[in-house]
């Protein structure tokens, strides 16, 4: 936790510089103070979440069936009248009734963005997403996963950075310089959805003597040519994905963060109701160099049965060539099948079902998601997750007793 607070402190400090610079320049231009406050906008989400686990925990120290928590994510933003400067501040806090590690705070975003013609400059903490596929986000690498939030690895910790972007006729180029590495969060002793042994995050090991202060660099290029969207990316720095090593003298594991280099490509070809997708990476620095890829297709049947509803079908094949027990994955040779139903009604009702099969070890997991707006400012979301992997050699097998249902009621303001 101390390191989180240190990072929060740093983000606030970075933001303060940005705020100071912008306000100073506004005063220098004789801007009206009133107008500055007029352009401040506050919104956000407050949510209550209930988790129900279907089976007893493997270990007595873990919570047994019911886990209640709530989170709060306000968003404060300011934009200058000429739209060239933006400040955004998004703190996040979750309080969990059972797992102390899941009770945590973060600065999701705290940045100053300056836009000048084709150039864009950003300083502070931000979240950045790259990629096109649904079952796995291989190319996405800027932000650390906030692992206590959800098993789907779609919640991310804010990453301090300086980003410079340039739009050209040949596409967009972005460069990222980062430090203040964020360690992945893991459930604690009481928590479910974890390895049999607790991950002792306070004793994380790094390749670099600079530990979390070692700088990372990343380059990103995106463009589109007719129906084809192209993304290329390069990353060199501390890999976000931790390895797990034995903690000498204890029954715990500690995360290991090594220096990696990664090249990624993401492609999408969009034609008629078809989306053809590919993501691939080559990574060096976690055992032997390896490649990994996801390739798939999404087809949507619009207005099924003369209703307003759309049904999308998804198939993705996953390959991961890594051969290292420290940085293991369960997605070495898998197939993902999914269906997405969108009602296109006033309440934006939608549902998604996804199924992962390991070509060697059989069914891996089944996931169901559904959501619907209630009134104008509430939303009810349901998630059901069945962990079906029972081959002890597959890393996903540690979750086999942790199948759960999650119900979230959110208020948006």
């Amino acid at each position: 936790m101390t390191s989180i607070y240190r990072k929060i402190g740093r983000s606030v400090w970075l933001t303060a510089i940005g705020v100071g610079a912008v306000l100073a320049s506004s005063y220098a231009h004789g801007a009206d103070q009133e107008s500055i406050w007029d352009q401040i906008d506050i919104s956000g989400e407050l949510a209550s979440e209930q988790r129900l686990f279907f089976q007893s925990a493997r270990s007595d120290e873990q919570l047994d069936s019911y886990q209640a928590s709530g989170f709060f994510e306000p968003r404060v933003r300011w934009r200058s009248a000429d739209r060239k400067n933006q400040l955004q501040f998004v703190p996040y806090v979750r309080v969990d009734a059972e797992d102390g590690r899941r009770t945590h705070a973060d600065i999701r975003e705290a940045y100053w963005r300056h836009i000048n013609g084709d150039w864009e400059f950003l300083a502070g903490a931000n979240r950045v997403f790259w990629g096109v596929t649904e079952s796995r986000h291989l190319v996405n690498i800027i932000n650390q996963v906030d692992g206590v939030e959800n098993i789907d690895e779609e919640d991310f910790l804010g990453q301090p950075m300086i980003q410079i972007g340039k739009q050209t006729d040949m596409g967009r180029f972005d460069a990222f310089l980062m430090t203040g590495f964020r360690e992945r969060t893991f459930p604690g002793q009481v928590g479910r959805l974890r390895d049999g042994r607790v991950i002792e995050t306070s004793r994380a090991r790094y390749d670099s003597d600079l530990e979390e202060w070692r700088p990372d660099v990343a380059l990103r290029y995106t463009h589109y040519i007719d129906e084809l969207d192209i993304g290329l990316s390069l990353f060199h720095g501390t890999g976000r994905e931790p390895g797990a090593v034995e903690d000498a003298g204890t029954d715990r594991l500690v995360p290991l963060y090594t220096i990696i280099s990664q090249a990624g490509v993401d492609l999408q070809y969009t034609t008629d109701a078809w989306l053809w997708k590919f993501e691939g990476i080559v990574r060096e620095g976690q055992g032997d160099a390896f490649g990994a890829g996801v390739a798939g297709v999404e087809y949507t049947f619009f207005q099924i049965n003369e209703t307003d509803a759309d049904l999308g079908l998804l198939v993705e094949g996953l390959y991961d060539g890594r051969d290292d027990d420290v940085f293991a994955t369960s997605l070495e040779n898998d197939v993902f099948l999914g269906a997405r139903l969108t009602l296109n009604d006033v309440q934006d009702t939608s549902a998604l079902i996804g199924f992962v099969i390991d070509t060697k070890d059989g069914p891996g997991g089944l996931r169901v998601e559904a959501e619907r707006r209630l009134g104008d400012s509430f939303k009810l979301s349901f998630e059901g997750q069945m962990f079906l992997e029972n081959d002890a050699n597959n890393p996903a097998a540690v979750l086999q007793d942790d199948s759960l249902a999650t119900l979230t009621l959110s208020w948006f303001f």
Partner: protein, 273 residues
């Protein structure tokens, strides 16, 4: 959703000569005069809108179901008119409410013949997603407006036939029947009332795939901007088959603010809110 502003005829520009000759070549001689006149009336309306450059507008949408329950949405839209008429206009819609979809933005590059290029920004994951634009007849954000009601206003997307002239309120209107030429339309035909004074749309009747009257759209509260661009401040769409209706209000129009095509690339989606 693609080009809400196209509804305002921004894109209904004449590829007039080429199309007129096409119409001449393919229409039986008997209805040729009616076809020519129908096209001319529609083309005049389309041309009345040229040269707006770019525009921004705030939209508010009120959805009403058969029982009268209301739901609202608000959005901001910017549109860029491109000088090259073989390329469609560009538009960016940012949703401001309901609060759970706030910040969701849609970038569209309209095409004349091919499917539009569309990218959606989903703020929850900060993800930019290229989406299929095949869905012409589906509802736009749960409203009674279909995507094609909003994007399908380009002149050359229809075959036109002049039907009659009749009074429309205080004005005299030409009634033009138009049939979609593009694929996947939900309509067999539409009847459009275009006034003879300012050449603006006053009403559209939409006929479904069974040729039954499905919806009526009225264009109300016209206002003249910059001395030359007519804009209806209120669209009313009534669905006769379901009893639902949607009102779309436009406010705070600005024109020629100096936007360029660089303001309509997918890289700008994430900085819209």
């Amino acid at each position: 959703m693609t080009n809400l502003l196209n509804t305002h005829k921004s894109l209904r520009r004449a590829i007039a000569i080429g199309l007129a000759s096409l119409v001449l070549a393919t229409t039986p001689a008997l209805s040729q005069d009616a076809a020519n006149k129908g096209f001319e009336v529609a083309a005049k309306s389309d041309r009345s809108d040229r040269g707006f450059g770019d525009s921004t507008v705030i939209l508010s949408m009120v959805l009403k179901n058969a029982a009268g329950a209301e739901s609202t949405r608000s959005m901001a839209m910017t549109t860029l008119e491109l000088p090259d008429e073989s390329i469609g206009d560009r538009s960016l819609v940012r949703f401001d409410s309901p609060a759970d979809i706030e910040g969701t933005s849609l970038l569209s590059h309209a095409q004349i013949i091919d499917a539009d290029d569309q990218w959606l920004f989903l703020p929850a994951l900060k993800r930019v997603k290229r989406i299929s634009s095949r869905n012409k007849s589906g509802p736009f954000v749960g409203s009674e407006f279909a995507f094609e009601d909003i994007t399908g206003q380009e002149l050359e997307k229809y075959d036109h036939v002049w039907v009659r002239e009749e009074a429309c309120g205080d004005l005299m209107c030409d009634v033009v029947e138009r049939k979609p030429r593009y694929e996947n339309s939900g309509y067999t035909r539409q009847l459009v009332w275009i006034d003879q004074s300012d050449a603006q749309f006053r009403k559209i009747e939409y006929y479904d795939r069974k040729n039954d009257l499905l919806k009526t759209q009225t264009f109300e509260d016209y206002k003249l901007y910059e001395g030359k661009f007519w804009r209806s401040q209120l669209f009313r769409m009534e669905n006769h088959q379901t009893g639902k209706s949607t009102v779309l209000k436009f406010s705070d129009y600005t024109f020629n603010t100096g936007l360029t095509d660089r303001d309509f690339v997918k890289g700008v989606l994430k900085r819209q809110r």
